[in-house]
Subunit: 365 residues, 2 copies
């Protein structure tokens, strides 16, 4: 079995936590070879804005979002493991999402898409895993939203997961992060071009998405990194004159944010963004049993790795510690590490010198 | 001399760092009695959104923004000190500001107001101090923007300041905080009602101000406080139905932000907010001599108190430490304390049980 971008087209109704979809499809990519016992499978969930293209492969040689992590001889070694990266249900990168056509109406779902939960995202991945004839995963892996999706998977299908690698996530989102994301969603919805979700494909709420992305960028990195990177460096007079808004731009950090926000804005559908963002807020492991502890008692993991980052203020180390402690109460051996990266929440995408060995450790057994 | 709301009306031109104003006025309030030697004066600068009404007094019995700090028997004891709180130049609460009428044109300044700096704010305060016949201050005091204004004052008029109390501020703003404030300004300017600054008095950019205020609120408090306060408490169905935007509101923290932002929005002029916010970004003590250290060498303080808060991520403790260390190199005795408050940057307005004694200590000599 080679590298491939695949779609699982479900033929029947897909039950969601808050509704249902007619015959959705789930996009995924696979890396490496499924062995005869089908017990070398690593299922990878993505963050909010990533596709299933976790690494370059024969069909798509472009660099993946975790290029340093997945591949031959890499921490998730595809000479040994069969890695499956699933595009989240509701995401714009190939799975059925609010921008997809609703077969019932012939129009795109937009806000008629049911409220999305990470349990639904996990459910979509389970369909892929079953279609591949896989009974039990070697590992379920995810960072950020992917970490919560991995947890949702292990909570819903406890018998089919042997180990979990959970990165920069938590049992739920803290109010600070909810506030940040809620404001990002409001910035999108506040753009008149959003039109209550009914924007035409060729006239999306770019301005709202741009502002939301700026706020996202601020929350994904750390003050320390920006201090080292920008200090009080000023923009050139040219940049200042080109500022898109009238009250001016003085510092390099402002110009950096503007450039990065601009490049993301056209790549992701606004309604998909809204649904996934809210799904992160809504997720709570405690829904699986009444408390985080009760939820952890459902897991049937042989072991887990829980990683976090000192400078992450979106999912701060206290949240990884909570997960780790609750698992240990249930006698799950946990390898727990808080890395001293300065890149904030995004460190798992950036500080590969620290993350490569920490991830590799999970797969040496 | 009793308690009073006063205005200093300057008769001539006022030179700013980047321009000039014709005969501006500076609003201020005084508390306590100026002694014969005029050496019991405490000059207080405000944060970005506070007025000169630091405490209740005979003329205005309404609660002031630092009611617990200024008054008879309080940390800044008005039975002993003559406290002067100055409304910053450019602020909407009584001093000449972008919303004031430009005597040259008969219209309000709006964006014709020169770029504002905290050096100008300090200069305005100096005019008040001189008009009162005061040669040397016992103390210059400020928190947040007020702390940087106090520093600007001591740097511009070193011989006329005996001690400084500097709270939750720094020698300059870090890139993270600039990014936060820059985005807040962009949210205001992005509101079509802003009209490039030329909005009519009765149709200000309320929506942009509301969004900016929400982001401000997020940066003023701390994740820890919100965790304790809101956890994952849900809004009632009624609140959810009343949400002002279509994509819904699920959590109490969202409802709290919405309510608080709404109440601020109509109280402060948008252009004034933009000017003051940018002045905070532009301030850099290093402009006074080439480096922070060179700037500190200009000070002629007998002593200083530098206070900060563990959970403040807008002006984190590293910034107060930088100030303290640079002052100590110049042989200024510094009382330095980082308080374990959980209320973030706003702690100086909220956690009075910790701040009262820390402030009082500065005035026991």
């Amino acid at each position: 079995m080679g590298d491939a971008r695949r779609y699982l087209q479900l033929e029947s109704e897909f039950a969601m936590v808050h509704g249902q979809l007619d015959a959705p499809r789930i996009a995924y990519e696979t890396y490496g070879t499924l062995n005869n016992d089908k017990d070398n499978v690593v299922l990878i969930f993505t963050g909010l804005s990533a596709s299933a293209h976790v690494a370059s492969n024969r069909e798509d040689p472009s660099t993946g979002w975790w290029e340093d992590v997945v591949g031959p001889g890499k921490p998730i070694d595809t000479q040994r493991f069969f890695a499956v990266c699933v595009c989240s249900l509701g995401s714009f990168y190939g799975s059925t999402c609010p921008a997809s056509t609703n077969p019932k109406t012939g129009r795109s779902y937009q806000l008629e898409f049911p409220t999305l939960t990470l349990e639904d995202v996990a459910h979509g991945a389970k369909c892929v895993v079953e279609a591949l004839g896989i009974r039990r995963l070697h590992s379920v892996v995810g960072a950020s939203m992917g970490g919560m999706s991995a947890l949702a998977y292990a909570l819903q299908y406890p018998a089919s997961v042997a180990t979990m690698l959970n990165i920069s996530a938590g049992a739920h989102s803290q109010p600070f992060s909810i506030a940040m994301r809620s404001l990002q969603r409001e910035l999108v919805c506040n753009d008149p071009a959003w039109r209550d979700g009914n924007y035409p494909t060729d006239a999306p709420p770019l301005e709202g998405m741009r502002l939301a992305r700026k706020l996202g960028m601020i929350s994904y990195r750390s003050a320390e990194e920006w201090q080292q990177r920008f200090g009080r460096e000023r923009v050139t007079e040219n940049t200042q004159a080109e500022a898109r808004w009238a009250f001016g731009m003085d510092f390099e950090v402002e110009s950096y944010l503007a450039a990065r926000a601009q490049s993301f804005t056209s790549a992701f559908d606004a309604n998909c963004y809204l649904y996934l963002s809210r799904a992160m807020d809504l997720f709570d492991a405690a829904d699986h049993g009444g408390s985080v502890q009760a939820a952890m008692s459902r897991l049937r993991l042989d072991r887990a790795t829980v990683l976090g980052v000192q400078s992450d203020f979106l999912f701060p180390p206290s949240q990884q510690r909570e997960l780790k402690e609750a698992m240990e109460v249930e006698s799950i051996p946990v390898n727990y590490e808080i890395l001293p990266s300065i890149h904030g929440h995004d460190s798992f995408l950036v500080d590969m010198n620290r993350f490569r060995p920490a991830i590799a450790k999970h797969f040496i057994d």
